[in-house]
Amino acid sequence: MTLKKLSQPILLLTTALVFFYLIQFIVFTVPQAQAEAGGLAQKIFYFHVPSAYALYLSGAVCFVASAGYLYRPSDTWDSWSRAGAECAVVFGCMVLLSGPLWAKKAWGVYWTWDPRLTTLLLSVVIYIALVVMRAFTGDGDAERKFAAGFGILGTVNLPIVHYSVKKWGGNHPTVVGEGGGGLADPNMRLALYLGFLAMTLLAVLLLIARARLAQTNAKLLALEEHAAVEGLLESP
């Protein structure tokens, strides 16, 4: 077996082990935060923030691949652009599900039209629109170029999501990074770092899987056209 063939099972196994360790670490070792932060519900943070980071990562892949497609159209760029948008939707949904459940305990409400929440919702809606558009339209060059432009637009919104807290305030905490008080306990910090590692591995795995899926789809479409020319299929 070549190293290339082994790399994916190794990546999958590593991701599974990191996740397994992280979950038991969060449940049994990481201390509970103060009541104002949500108490036990604050433990959602160790998946919530890394999911948001994975959303940024997927968005960045979508951005680079979309720009690459517009510059030099190819099936490979299109596949990665598509994979980036799809993974951004998945991680965005994870953030939008976990955040309100934590907010219910910390703020007393599931949702508030806070700048970060609102801008994040907008980004996820853009990626959902992109994925739905790709699913229900053709796969021609015009559709691909339009999708690439849309993918760039969705990712341009991500820095606004990130800096919205600093620019416009709101309820959303800024614990990590500039202006934040940080995590007081070393185990809390370790859990967050492990969360970032786990989500990076997961994002890489999902991006590879979805890009492969999109490439197979493109290959199949090309083959179907060839088969139609050969008279094996009715013209698509």
């Binding site: 949904c93 994870m94 976990s98 459940l101 219910k104 007393g108 899987a209 899926l213 088969a227 094996l232």
Partner: protein, 83 residues
């Protein structure tokens, strides 16, 4: 002649007059948060895993279908090429 003693009021048996009782309910902002943190945490983790597993399952199923279709077409084209 005995001394009259004032009975100590028992809070549990003190009855309010109709005028003292609550006569309307008004909404207040906030109030004590009673939702269980455990339930919220479990719901968040289960929800996130459910989204992830659904995505992985759908990706796997679609990849299987595409691979099967691709195999069929390649075989048909190879057969046509031989004949």
């Amino acid at each position: 002649m005995g001394v009259m003693q004032t009975p100590t009021p028992n809070p549990t048996s003190t009855l309010k007059t109709p005028a003292d009782r609550a006569q309307e309910f008004v909404a207040v902002q906030g109030g004590p948060e009673t939702t269980s943190a455990e339930n919220l945490m479990v719901a968040a983790y289960c929800g996130m895993w459910a989204i992830l597993m659904l995505f992985i399952f759908l990706s796997w199923r679609r990849q299987e279908k595409l691979d099967a279709r691709l195999g069929e077409l390649e075989a048909a084209l190879a057969k046509r090429g031989r004949s």
